[in-house]
Subunit: 945 residues, 2 copies
């Protein structure tokens, strides 16, 4: 795995041994002798600080002569070294010896990274000098620029990594000091902080000390972030997707602030639709709020200019912050340390921030910085903005624009703050690119931070978005980046408290799961009029359109852990039902038929034709015409939400009406079967397996339609009890006569469903078993989908599935089928499915069902295809955006599959775990009817069950 840790770097004082106590005693003796007030609490400030700086802190403003200073430092150190002689191996802190043994066993490298020149003595006395591959004992004068500063600079950590021959992102640092944690973070390393959260809370993982701590526990710190493993120009697009941040209103891809050739910066905002050729409508890429230019002695910074000698980028899943740290040597040879941090907070849909910090490492440098709002943004070459207007009011610059065809207004307003030094911020009124520009000459090791705080407002939010954006920018300027960061971290902490899933024993899986859940959360809006797109807000794939992905794959996660967000997503279908009515009407059917792809209005926006691979021929896309099952999938999601939450008010309102109106569609769509009177067919459809078009009586479609028609009757019956007036109103409005309800039941009971009653095998559609078989071994080493290899017609003629179709029924309607049936159908369909390059919706479902069949190891193979799809770019298409449905499927595979969440006969929620053998723990919460159920499954339990 590209994210694995290969080396552990330990601080010495307070981590390996308690030399901190000896330091304290030596300082205390000096202070007492000189009559300076000092105590243990004052000593806290000296943790991780150099000797000379410690003396300064101890003096607390008193002045002494340089000669005195040298003498006092020597006295303190002499005393400290005397005390050190008392050290023995028994002074190793609890847990250290065992941990070092375990690390050596595991083959990871180790280093000591200490500020103290006494380190060799200490290690000798402790008799552990041979346990470390590298020992850094304080700054080394000749280590060179970027390698010779004390903590909190990253230098000593980078020096250690260099000597270990391990990349910074593969290092984990154990520290007890705030400055050490900060230095390690700036080095791009994973951090474990020992001690109270007030001190080391910025670390990825906080432990009280190392007593009883295992290597696995340390490494688990790395599951809270996703690191880009080195800078590879060819991989930028896929990392842009994976490193997307957001706040529920917008998503911003992880493109570089200063740009890079071939990049694809994008900020997609919920509801900001504009018309586009072929795809009808798409989310207009919003002005790039991340744009930040930097010149060092006049040389423009870019990753492909000069030389980058440190590079680390990491998305922190605790805070949603994306951090980049690097050392850049300009073409003329000056080296500067540059860090970019960006943040979007779930608590603040309208505020985002970028923080740039620059430090010259080897010579004074004139630094120029330009913080821009870039209005020259595009959707893969298409422009959506017009009437761009910009301005500056003394403190804030802003850019307004209007979508070309839908005339929606977007405003971004920016203010800047500085730290370290402060340069005048000049307005730079470049066309389409209003900016602040600042110039500063920095001494060696002098740091300058520029924070860019941007308010983003559309006319969906308020009548006067410009006024709101300016007010908001002013407010952001007061709190600065730190306030945004704190708010973001707090909001995510609340989310994780409810929605995290803990996996122990499999850090790659844990990281993948958390990354997916983070991506889902930031895509979900506090807004009933938008849904979650197939690629969330993280890329241009599928143009921001919503599919059944939302209801069938993503929604359960929200329904079970964030029901308020689930309700918003279902209300989106209610607000767009007029589009569904129109589609039914235009197709000659009754009721409401939901579109295969949905955007602002609920009208069908599936492209009818798309250019083929050679760019010339057009391919007809039939999904918008005949992929019908989404209408039942939405009804299913409503009922699931209702049953889990008990939200009767929703059900009596929007929920029941959607179910009943869409049931009328199925009634009108089902065709009385001519050869077999009394039977009903649904012909000419596409099922979930889209390799097969224009098929008759697709098992999934028919079973879901039958479920829908039956459930509609049950919902109406419930409504009569719960809200009789509403029931009567709907009956009248939708013409729900007794005869009609009987007809629904009749159709449901008589819809063709091709199950062999002898074997239990279900035929995916009429004639599927007559299609040709694929010579699978011939395709063993493929890197493309079976459809790409066989052609559209070729795949259609074969028994090859893009994704589970019959099998999905066993996941959604388990009560309808026996486990024996599942086994029979699994054995038939799973080997005929394009698991690797078919639909990304498939693997999670296979994982879930493999657990049902008691095959957790096989489940695991499928599961990891889904859990790593974006971080490891398993399918090679992460560049187009996050696989949101896969992330939702991963949650279902964990909870319904590996944990086996189900309802007992008594209606109680229960689990039946089936964990892969290397998983030690699986823990999560679900909310059922407002009650929170926490499940904490340990390996032992799993074995037991």
């Amino acid at each position: 795995m590209s994210q694995a840790i290969h080396a552990i770097l330990f601080d010495l004082d307070g981590v390996i041994t308690d030399t901190a106590e000896y330091h304290y005693r030596a300082w205390q003796e000096l202070a007492d002798a000189e009559g300076i007030p000092f105590d243990r609490s004052a000593n806290e400030k000296l943790r991780g600080v150099s000797r000379r700086e410690s003396l300064r802190l101890l003096l607390n403003g008193r002045t002494i002569t340089p000669e005195q200073e040298e003498a006092w430092l020597a006295r303190k150190n002499r005393r400290y070294q005397e005390l050190l002689q008392q050290l023995t191996p028994a002074d190793l802190l609890p847990g250290v010896a065992a941990l070092l043994d375990e690390i050596r066993q595991a083959g990871l490298k180790t280093a000591i990274v200490s500020a103290s020149h006494n380190t060799p003595t200490v290690l000798d006395r402790l008799q552990i000098a041979d346990r470390f591959d590298v020992v850094i004992a304080g700054p080394e004068a000749n280590a060179g620029p970027g390698r010779n500063r004390p903590k909190p600079a990253p230098d000593l950590f980078l020096l250690a990594a260099e000597r270990l021959g391990v990349a910074p992102w593969a290092c984990l640092v154990v520290e007890d000091a705030e400055s050490g944690v900060e230095g390690a973070r700036q080095a791009g390393m994973v951090t474990v902080g020992l001690g109270p959260t007030e001190r080391v809370g910025a670390a990825d993982l906080v432990l009280p000390n190392l007593a009883g701590v295992t290597l696995a526990q340390l490494l688990y710190a790395a599951t809270w972030s996703v690191a880009e493993p080195g800078f590879d120009p060819a991989q930028q697009r896929r990392w842009e997707s994976a490193l997307t941040i957001g706040n529920g209103m917008l998503g911003t891809r992880g493109s570089l602030e200063e740009r890079f050739p071939g990049d694809q910066p994008s900020t997609l905002i919920h509801g900001l639709w504009d018309d586009a050729p072929i795809v009808y409508t798409e989310l207009a890429n919003a002005f790039d709020w991340t744009a930040f230019d930097l010149w060092s002695d006049g040389e423009a910074f870019r990753m492909d200019r000069g030389a980058v000698t440190l590079y680390s980028r990491r998305l922190d899943l605790h805070s949603g912050e994306l951090r980049r740290h690097l050392y850049w040597t300009t073409p003329t040879g000056a080296t500067v340390q540059i860090s970019f941090r960006r943040i979007a907070s779930l608590a603040d849909p309208h505020g985002v921030g970028v923080r740039l910090e620059v430090t010259p490492l080897d010579r004074p440098v004139q630094v120029r910085v330009r913080a821009r709002i870039d209005g020259v943004v595009e959707n893969e070459g298409l422009l959506h903005w017009r009437n761009l207007q910009q301005g500056y009011d003394g403190a804030i610059v802003y850019l307004c624009g209007e979508t070309r065809r839908t005339h929606k207004t977007l405003v971004e307003a920016m203010t800047v703050r500085q730290e370290g030094v402060t340069a005048p911020a000049h307005y730079h009124d470049a066309p389409y690119n209003p900016a602040f520009e600042m110039t500063q000459t920095l001494a060696v090791h002098q740091s300058w931070a520029v924070e860019k705080l941007v308010a983003i407002v559309t006319d969906r939010n308020v009548d006067d978005p410009l006024a709101m954006a300016r007010a908001k920018a002013a407010e952001l300027g007061k709190g600065g980046y730190a306030a945004l960061f704190t708010s973001a971290k707090a909001a995510l902490a609340e989310f994780w408290a409810e929605s995290d899933v803990i996996i122990e024993g499999d850090d790659a899986a844990q990281r993948g799961v958390r990354h997916g859940l983070y991506q889902l959360r930031i895509a979900a809006a506090q807004d009933e009029r938008v849904s979650i797109a197939a690629k969330s807000l993280s890329g241009f794939g599928y143009r921001g359109h919503a599919f059944w992905d939302t209801e069938t794959f993503i929604l359960p996660f929200f329904t079970f852990t964030q029901p308020a967000l689930a309700r918003n997503l279902l209300m989106y279908r209610w607000h767009t039902i007029e589009g569904a009515r129109k589609k039914a009407r235009e197709n000659g059917y009754a009721g409401a038929q939901y579109p295969w792809e949905s955007a602002e209005t609920g009208e069908e926006v599936t492209p009818r034709w798309v250019p083929g691979p050679n760019g010339e021929e057009l391919i007809r896309i039939w999904c918008g015409d005949i992929e019908l099952h989404i209408t039942a999938d939405i009804a299913y999601a409503i009922v699931q939400y209702w049953r889990m939450t008990g939200d009767d008010e929703f059900m009596a309102g929007a929920g029941a009406q959607i179910i009943l109106e869409t049931a009328r569609f199925w009634e009108s769509r089902a065709e009385p079967d001519r050869p077999t009177p009394g039977r009903y067919s649904i012909s000419d459809v596409i099922g979930p397996d889209e390799y097969h078009e224009h098929v008759d009586n697709n098992a999934f479609t028919n079973a879901m339609a039958a479920w829908h028609l039956r459930t509609a009757g049950e919902v109406l019956a419930w409504l009569h009890t719960y809200a009789p007036t509403r029931a009567a109103h709907l009956e009248k409005m939708l013409d729900l006569s007794r005869e009609r309800l009987v007809r629904w039941r009749t159709i449901a009971d008589n819809l063709v469903f091709l199950r062999d009653s002898r074997t239990g095998l279900i035929e995916q559609f009429e004639g599927f078993f007559q299609r040709k078989e694929v010579d699978w071994p011939a395709f063993a080493n493929r890197t493309k989908s079976m459809q790409a290899l066989l052609g559209i017609e070729g795949a259609n003629e074969h028994q090859v599935l893009k994704q589970p179709d019959v099998l999905l029924l066993f996941a959604l309607l388990p009560q309808h089928f026996s486990d024996a049936d599942l086994r029979v159908n699994w054995d038939y369909y799973s080997p005929r499915t394009d698991h690797t390059y078919g639909s990304s919706l498939g693997p999670a479902v296979h994982a879930w069902l493999a657990c049902r069949l008691g095959m957790p190891e096989e489940a695991y193979t499928h599961f990891m295809r889904a859990a790593l799809v974006d971080i490891e770019d398993v399918r090679g298409n992460a560049a187009e955006g996050i696989h949101a449905a896969s992330a939702g499927g991963v949650w279902q595979a964990l909870v319904f599959g590996f944990a086996g969440l189900h309802w007992t006969e008594a209606g109680e929620v229960a689990v039946k775990p089936q964990l892969p053998s290397h998983w030690r723990r699986l823990a999560f919460n679900v909310q059922v009817r407002g009650k929170r159920h926490a499940f904490d499954l340990r390996r032992e339990d799993a074995v037991k069950s």
Copy 2:
């Protein structure tokens, strides 16, 4: 007509009477009395200059006291007024009295615009005071800003126009002074200069004096420019097209320098292709070199901000300069005079310039100016540029970029020059928008001119376009705008000397013809690898693709007047023949089949599908598949060029080979007719009338194919004589056996051609006469094409033509048909043709043939539809670009139609004029085999013939 002149404004001195002589005598007496050297030649400088300024010039550096100055001025004026008393009506200059009578008769308004306060006295003495609607006798102190400055300011002319109630662009000024001509031009008026060209050469028309001059002669001055009649935001797109300027390498639409909402700035450069969806390839809109921003006291200038109280824009066809003059009052109330001039020179494909001049009119103003190269350019929302890089080297700023898919490089480099005052020019490095910025505080009436000179170079021109662009920009900076202007005017003068067509008696027609010829000329490159697109380089319509429009409609103009350019255009087909071979091969035919739409390679680039009017349905475009006749049209143009020029070298090289290779296509395409052995058919085609698709044996296609096959044999025979080795080589390479040549002849003689031998009526294609008739009266007031009204299928089912099809044969192959046949077919087809909203190619052909039929008045109706198609936006689609083929057709209608150019039996070129009754003169040149034939047809001749 929107361009008509409604008022004539006369200067007094030197125009109406010779008061100039009295001024001279008064000054001379003063000079003699004071002992100052002065004579008639020194007096020349005083022409049109105020009294006080005249004294200054007379003093020539001497100083006198203010008291002396006042006394001398009074003395001179007293003496002058005494002299004036000698004036009588006999002092009216020759021709003036008759001209004033004629103007009054014609109902036009008149004014005197004189610098002299003595004007009323003069008019009284001349007894013509009552002949003028308005008299301006020098600046009036209380006339207000922009109305009170002496010439060369436009003020007095604008004051007169205001008092006459006539818009400036409808005024014509007669002046004898340079300053008067300049003032009138700045007022946006048409100018007639009296006197030597050195003095009044900037005028639209120069006459020695008014002796014998008619109103018509004066008004003719207005045929040398096209004026935008007032600023109408809704009409901007169409004026952008009509006011396109260019230099044979590039065309730049007349969008406003400072931009306007909804505008479409574009600079299209020959050969700068980039791929695009649906249309395969299009000319990538180049960086906007016109971009110029202006702030007055911090207020950004735009036409929709503040108030514009003068607006005039005019494209000068003498120089190709586009001028805009305006008065702008800022939102805070300061008024400035602004003029923009832009130029591209036919003598300089890489240099262009814009000149901005600003003058505060009522208060001092701080003016900021920004001259940009705008890289944020688009093709109707599509972006073509990437890797934009910009820089500044102390004197020049530049922008480089690369097309996204074809990787062609474009560089634009800019320098600036100033006049009046000079402010430091700062580099403004806005992203994608490198600029120079200058700020200057101007006193009232102080003028500041900023010239922006831009070099435009692509990697089609040189290996290192950046180096060349920088060198070129430096060179442009030396000569400045004036040098570019002079070069442009000189180059166009050469063009007009060869290619102008003079029409007297119809200024609207004259202007339309000149505008069209100018547009054709600037579209023709000194480059064999490009053609002329359907919309030239003036708009995005048809994406820069070349059609048969070039060979059939445009080429004759060049063949007959600019044969070197014609040769380039034909060589384009030679260089792209590989694409034609590929098309034939892929369609299963032999030889070469030219594409219906052609771009860089000659491969077919007709879009196969285009979005329908509602944006959802796709419409299949069949022209690229089955509109075949273009292959014969190209052969026809080659033969016409060869016969007219005698360019045997071309014919023996590219010409013959194209004709022979394409003949092989026709041979393989013709189908032996099964029911009638011995006959040949060409089925499933589209003829010129594109309302009918998939037709069999289209008369035009078959006749042109037969002509082509016959001519190919003749060409080969000629080649055997002229270049036997070449002939043998081609015979071998193309397998031109004797049998094959016989077969060509057989096919040519036996291709189906549905002519009724009894009536001479030709059926457009098989079954045309069975199609339904249109109820024409029902469509009398339509504003859309018949196809738009009937639908694609509907039009196909009716006998309605988009454009001449059978009739075009009579134009191209007159020797094949009798006049009686023409009459029969005209009577049948003309009433069934969509003249108004069908193809814009049609009217000129109908004009031409109507002349052949002796119907010049009917011809004229058709002719004007073509001649005014862009200036008057006759078809409502001028916004998409110039109708280049229509302009070419206009020339053919004039020369082949109205003039009746033809060859006598003896092979001599001759005319047979048929002029509309109100035309007094039609004059033009043609070159035949290197010899220039000048034709000057007068009404009298026309009547005689």
